[in-house]
């Protein structure tokens, strides 16, 4: 089981803030998780999660889509940050 979080425009576009997800196999990459989420929730999710500027954070660190997601991880999707 992993926790998936969504922020800002991504959160609004999906209408979801957070969900739990059972990984389907060991060594699933961030990309595989995205495909899995699309397969569960429909094509609208593809439009949002596959936007080129979406940022992926795994356990509070920005990662690219080839990173493996371990059991118990926290994975987050959000648009470019605008702090400061």
């Amino acid at each position: 089981m992993i926790t998936v979080k969504f922020f800002s425009l991504v959160r609004e576009a999906l209408g979801v803030q957070q969900l739990d997800l059972q990984l389907t196999h060991e060594g699933m990459t961030v990309m595989a998780v995205k495909e899995y989420l699309v397969s569960m929730h429909g094509e609208h999710w593809r439009e949002v999660l596959f936007q080129p500027n979406v940022v992926h954070a795994l356990n509070h660190r920005v990662v690219d889509v080839t990173t493996s997601v371990e059991e118990g991880a926290e994975l987050a999707f959000f648009p470019p940050m605008t702090g400061g």
Binding site: S8, H60, A76, P79, T82, G83, G84
Partner: protein, 156 residues
């Protein structure tokens, strides 16, 4: 003392300054404070909403402060950032650094601000006086400023 504060309540720039420098200030102190603007490209701003990613925010800011400390030999540093709904003229962010010389102090403070803009998970939404609200788009130039700090040939 905690060097990173991420909080919804407002803060006092003068109190933060005292916490940074303590009783025996170092030789050079540079601070940056960012406040809510009263206007933007789309109109007059009534309020600023700041969404953040609890946990990741604190950890990113701590790492950025530590990087600045190692890279510019800072004696001390402190980062305060608000989230939630802010009014016009409210302080949003405050960064203060102490160094032996002024150049390191300026660089350390600017490094933290330039990297914080693109690396700390905050998202701004401006509420205008016509009732509309829109997310602030990330700016290409912010990415460029961040990138400057990581170019090996750069001797700023």
């Amino acid at each position: 003392m905690q060097r990173v504060l991420v909080q919804s309540k407002t803060f006092d720039v003068e109190t933060e300054y005292r916490r940074l420098v303590g009783e025996f200030p170092g030789a050079a102190v540079v601070t940056f404070a960012g406040y809510v603007r009263d206007h933007c490209d789309n109109g007059n701003v009534m309020a600023l909403e700041l969404e953040h990613y609890p946990g990741m925010t604190e950890s990113v800011l701590e790492v950025l402060g530590q990087q600045a400390e190692a890279r510019f030999g800072l004696h001390a540093w402190r980062i305060v950032h608000r989230f939630g709904t802010l009014s016009r003229s409210d302080p949003i962010v405050w960064v203060g650094v102490v160094a032996e010389h002024r150049t390191e102090a300026f660089q350390g403070c600017q490094f933290i601000m330039d990297t914080l803009k693109t690396d700390a998970p905050f998202w701004k939404r401006e509420h205008l006086d016509d009732g509309s609200a829109c997310w602030v788009a990330s700016q290409c130039q912010d990415e460029q400023r961040r990138a400057q700090w990581y170019q090996p040939q750069e001797e700023k």
